[in-house]
């Protein structure tokens, strides 16, 4: 096939105890956007790591044909050499370095052995222009939002004369606006002749942008779809991914809402570095028993900050406000106190805040509720194993055993481990910050079911999410947050995406 830029034939990859890929075959045509879909742990990231030399030649079986030639990569550098660049599931930018420095990191513009910063900066500006990003090329990366950082990653890839760009879940951390923007940049690059492969669990995006779709299930290629005007929709992809049609995205749930038990009044918190800037501005809200409360807002609106400042004041400087549990004011000065009061917080960034990547599944699951399996600081090993097994099953975590390191799990399964860790504390109020980020449709459904179950047990759930359909589908009541203030409150029954969007962006509506 002359139109093919890449063929992967019969790829098989084993890890100790798991066959991650089993005879996977995939063809990518020149100049297309090729999507890879599959459940968590299906082997998508592994396939791309094989392609980009992260798993070098010799550690897998099968052939890779790039541009008509058999290629055998020994590492990332050698795949980049032929123009294959991968942007990993987790961003790899260095927060303290400037945009320019990051773009050329490992690929510096050198002139007689010395880095030519003037030239580098010139080129950086041009690259940033290509991805439609207007930021200071000398400013540090940490000042950029996630969406902007993702674009810098693409600019960095472009700086390497990329011919095949691989994006592993590029939009999972982005809100809809940023995702839209990124997708349009991809389309634009496509018109300039760039081929890209994209992994995503956001099926609407895939249906919208992909020219072809390869579906992987349990390490096997299930099918390859060519998209011709409207023949592939989300349901079609889901059918391929899970092997059956999914009747609905959200489990049926009849809320049994009790009385108000958790309330926050006038919560005011200052930014940890920038004095005077309020990340929470006199925020007041409440949660009733059995209620699922959503928090909608744009990236950076202050939802995470609000949640973390409540959760043992782990963010910012507390300026004022009260927390009432069952009508009585309580002090929650640290995480231990929060856990003791039955509050749990599932952070949005699992690698940075949720996991110790050196730990195994078992130790991670019990880590937050360690008191439940220990007496006077001595851990009961049998209780620990039993607990870990129970939660691994309950959360349907795909791992060879509870003793494998969490770093070997697929992204989605890592997320489930973090959820399990916090469910194990048996919270009366569970704060979930983007709990379904990077999780496949089937697993999302499971997690929604779990959230419903928590609510049915009379617990309160706070769910922060950037996906409005998810908030509308799961929550009973939704608050909107804009620039640190709560700008609105609606029952999910009467809310729509548009009405939420207005409150999330328009202060005047408050």
């Amino acid at each position: 096939m002359s139109g093919a830029i890449l063929e992967m034939v019969g790829i098989t990859k084993d890890f100790p105890g798991v066959r991650a890929l089993d005879d996977v075959t995939m063809t990518v045509r020149r100049g297309e956007i090729h999507a890879i879909c599959g459940e968590n742990g299906a082997g998508k990231s592994t396939l791309m790591k094989v392609l980009s030399g992260v798993h070098p030649h010799g550690t897998y079986e099968g052939r890779i044909v790039f541009d008509g030639e058999d290629v055998q990569f020994t590492g990332i550098k050698s795949s980049e050499h032929v123009g294959i660049v991968i942007i990993h599931q987790e961003l790899a930018l260095i927060p303290e370095l400037s945009v320019t420095e990051n773009i050329f990191l490992g690929n510096e513009v050198v002139n007689h052995g010395v880095i030519d910063w003037v030239e580098a900066r010139e080129r950086a500006v041009r690259l940033l222009g290509r991805v439609g990003l207007e930021v200071d090329p000398d400013g540090p990366i940490k000042n950029l939002g996630v969406g902007q950082q993702q674009l810098v990653e693409i600019a960095k890839a472009l700086s390497k004369d990329v011919r095949l760009l691989i994006l592993d879940e590029p939009t999972s951390a982005l809100n809809e606006e940023d995702s839209e923007n990124l997708l349009s940049i991809l389309r634009q690059l496509k018109t300039q002749g760039l081929t890209s492969i994209m992994i995503s669990h956001k099926l609407n995006e895939i249906a919208a942008i992909a020219d072809s779709i390869t579906i992987i299930r349990d390490g096997h290629t299930i099918e390859s779809l060519h998209v011709v005007a409207g023949n592939v929709n989300e349901d079609r992809i889901i059918r391929g991914m899970v092997g059956r049609a999914l009747d609905s995205r959200f489990p049926d749930h009849t809320p049994k809402i009790g009385e108000k038990f958790f309330e926050v009044r006038d919560w005011t918190v200052e930014h940890p570095q920038i004095p005077g800037r309020l990340v929470c501005n006199h925020s007041s809200f409440y949660v009733r028993r059995g209620e699922i409360v959503g928090f909608a807002g744009l990236m950076g609106a202050g939802r995470t900050e609000l949640a973390r400042s409540i959760f043992g004041r782990t963010y910012g400087t507390y300026l004022g406000g009260q927390i009432l549990l069952d009508g009585r004011e309580v002090q929650i000065p640290n995480v231990q106190a929060a856990i003791a009061r039955g509050i749990s917080y599932v952070p949005e960034d699992r690698k940075v805040l949720g996991l110790n990547l050196l730990d195994n599944v078992k130790d991670t699951i019990v880590s937050a509720g360690i008191r439940r399996i220990s007496r006077r600081t001595v851990i009961d090993p049998e209780a620990e194993i039993a607990a870990a097994e129970e939660y691994r099953k309950a959360m349907n975590i795909k791992s060879a055993s509870i003793n494998v390191g969490v770093s070997t799990l697929s992204g989605g399964n890592q997320q489930k481990v973090v959820l399990a860790k916090w469910m194990f504390t048996q919270p009366s109020l569970a704060i979930l910050d983007e709990p379904t980020r990077g999780i496949d449709v089937g697993a999302k459904y499971e997690i929604y079911g779990l959230i419903n179950r928590l609510a049915d047990e009379g617990k309160g759930v706070i769910m922060i999410s950037s996906e409005l359909p998810e908030l509308l589908g799961v929550c009973d009541r939704i608050y909107t947050v804009f620039e640190g203030r709560i700008t609105g409150e609606m029952s999910a029954a009467e809310a729509t995406q548009e009405s939420l969007m207005r409150l999330m962006t328009d202060t005047a509506a408050a």
């Binding site: 110790n356 050196l358 130790d363 048996q426």
Partner: protein, 510 residues
Amino acid sequence: MTATKVIEAEPGKAGAPAGGASGSSVGAGLKQVLGGNLRQYGMLGALILVALFFEFASGGKMLTPSNAQNILNGNSYVLILAIGMLFVIITGQIDLSVGSVAAVVGICTALSINFWNFPWWLGILFGLFVGVVIGMWQGSWLAFVGVPGFITTLAGMMLFRGLYQYVGKASANPAPPEIRFIGGGYLPEWGPNTGLNNSTLVLGIAAMAVLIFLDFRRRARVIKAGGTPPALWVAIVRLAVTAVALGYITWLFGSGRPGTSFPVTGLILVVLALVYNFIATRTTIGRGVYAVGGNKAAAALTGVSVKKIYFLAMTNMAFLAAVAGVMYFGRATSTGPSDGVGWELDAIAAVFIGGAAVSGGIGTVTGSVIGGLVMAVLNNGLYLMGVGSDMTQIIKGLVLLIAVAFDLYSKSQGKPSIIATLARGFTPKVVEAELQAGVVPNRDLGNPLWGVLSFLLFPVGIVLWLTWRTDRPNSAKQARSGVIAALVVGALAGMIAIFYALAQTTGLFS
């Protein structure tokens, strides 16, 4: 919903010893006996090889009772420092001040006894108290002010060295006999003439009894939790090897010139190693230490108080430095100007040879002790061969470099650290592994007699070596064997009692 005991106890089968090595190859069998990855035993193997090498190279001077006693007496204090250093290093910090702290404690103990006329025990308590105060001082700088441990303890290294010189005024202060006993004494002689030191013999037998007991209990637990323990013969061979090794060690330390035994310093070391191994693997504090080293931010959000862990690690380190200081004071019989110089480096080297990671989060107590022993034996062996201290330094440096490089290599191959899991031999971790893996389908607990039988191999270790060492007078040999046999019979009766008590409580023989 509770987390305990989802795994129902299966009715145990009382049974005849089953098993037998039918059908499995020698290699696979060896693997089972050692409990998994052979590489993990690399460091222990290295220790044995180094010892044997010098035994032959020096014409039999290495493995003599007096030399073995010397090695322990001359290195126990460094190994104790290594245990404390391990915890500091796991948290991702380092302590450069331990030598100076030990010296200060030594001089404080000495002066309080010689000038304030403290009784010896009060002098020791005073020394330990000084150590703890110093630890709290350093811990506070690290935990509450945020000065990195490297800086805090670099300052401490100078500060306490200066303090030592100021307080000590270069005087030599003799140690009272009790402290000399702690730092270099031997266990008492008593009872019939067995040709061995009876205290050592009893210790050896007790240790063997405990090991058999633990192995048996672990097996019982696996079965009770519904898992599959490894084949019976595996356990028997494992215990048999242990029995021979312990028998040999008992002989090695017990057959020295009259009045010598397994050294007191060794006993202190073993007790501390057991206690700290328990803390590391079985307590919430231990988990906290690993969590902080693995991912500080995630640990904090999990309810681990990072400050508390830092503070405890530093305080504990100085406490152990104080123990080491007192022991060395006793061994050297008087204070001296070079007390504690360079000890921190030996301790740090031991920990890293033992498989700890520089970036924190990884390391074991057993590993560190074995790492320290490798260095000690190397040092001693080179000395026996008349190698000068210049060459000794060079060789030690190279060994450190190569050991750590090898460890990194095996980690990068996806294998666990050579000895990271070595310590798990008799800890609950193995229960989990065996629960999970179910090495060989075998649900028989077996007859408790097998444990007792393997106990018989204990004297085999002694007798073997007695016959090998022909330089021992024959008549004494016979006397020994007779008394040993008598002792063993007594021990057997005790063992049987233990097993049946245990069987009753676990209900496996009902």
